[in-house]
Symmetry: C2
Subunit: 215 residues, 2 copies
């Protein structure tokens, strides 16, 4: 059985949990105490993941890190959600890279600073990140106006990767994505309708984030 | 013959140019007038790349975008630099994703704001990006203390991706990477020694960036 080292507040962890659920694979979460400093520890970096990142997936044989690598591995292993022909597989990779580079990355960092970081957000940095993820969201919204899923008319791991941070409560980021980007909203509904779908706080250990007091 | 739509100031373009050179493949650059607004144009987004990114590679049959996708395609096509066994291929993908997420991304944005953007850099944003790429540089420097190349003892496309922004003149970013991260410095020397290596301004069209006047 798969063991997924993860915590619910991480959309990168949730991406993999969602893939396992939609694949119908039994799996077991192993809680990573991110807020207790587990990922920053020397032990974690030396013996689990030198990149200091979650999630980590044990499949009984391999221990894998980086959500995009894990998703690619799961797609190969089960022959599902990897894209059919070679051209589609390249598209899946292209969107996985775009997600890591510009879509998840800026939004996840924004949300982290908005509600999770110890320090209060720095307005200039928040403005910078907001402008960056807004550009990426507009690109993706435009793309989804003509495509049911990220690559063609069936879900792939590119969808699981890109939706990862968009199923969290609005108050965790202060950004209500669905009304502003309606094609993204409809796409999230399609993902949510996939058999096996659960939200991050339903499938992974960890508490919903209490809103930071705001002046 | 390959046609690479690119411009010299873009490390993402240079990553692919370098791979073609080290593969010993003949190729021809097609200048993208980034600073004249070509990539921001509707025409470019609608008919070349909806993500609004460079480079683009035409190989006679396919038109490919996103440096990581192009590098992966070239590695498959020529059976070189993709990593040998499956475990190595996964490592290559892991570092390509890490590069897009945290290594190139933060440093390239920092350099862009330092010397290329129209607007003067915002100190808080520069501090944020500096902290982020410094963390990533430290991770990679540590990794390279025990490894000649990013994945094992031979170069792969992960190296070509990650080194892309590190062969530009120091004054373009104000960051002298080599003395601060000696293992990265030695790795860059190893890459520079590969047959076929050329610097970005030697292989791609585009002028070296004039330093921004500083107070």
């Amino acid at each position: 059985m798969y063991k997924l080292h993860a915590f619910a507040q991480s959309g990168n962890c949730y991406k993999v949990a969602l893939a396992l659920d939609v694949l119908g694979q039994p799996w077991e979460p192993v809680f990573i105490d991110f807020f207790g400093g587990q990922i920053r520890s020397v032990q974690y970096r030396e013996s689990v993941n030198e990149l200091g990142e979650a999630p980590v997936l044990d499949d009984g044989v391999l221990r894998l890190t980086q959500s995009g690598v894990i998703l690619t591995h799961l797609a190969h292993q089960h022959g599902r959600f990897g894209g059919g022909a070679e051209a589609q597989q390249r598209e899946v990779l292209r969107w996985l890279l775009y997600d890591n580079h510009k879509f998840t990355s800026y939004f996840a960092t924004y949300r982290f600073m908005y509600s999770l970081a110890d320090a209060a957000p720095v307005p200039a940095v928040m403005d910078f990140l907001h402008a960056r993820f807004s550009t990426a969201f507009a690109v993706v919204d435009k793309h989804l106006q003509h495509s049911a899923f990220i690559v063609g008319d069936a879900p792939t791991i590119a969808d699981f990767s890109m939706c990862g941070y968009l199923f969290y409560p609005v108050e965790e980021s202060g950004v209500d994505v669905r009304p502003k980007y309606p094609a993204i909203g409809r796409w999230l509904q399609r993902i949510q309708a996939l058999p096996g779908w659960r939200g991050p706080y339903e499938c992974l250990p960890g508490e919903r984030i209490a809103p930071r007091p705001r002046s």
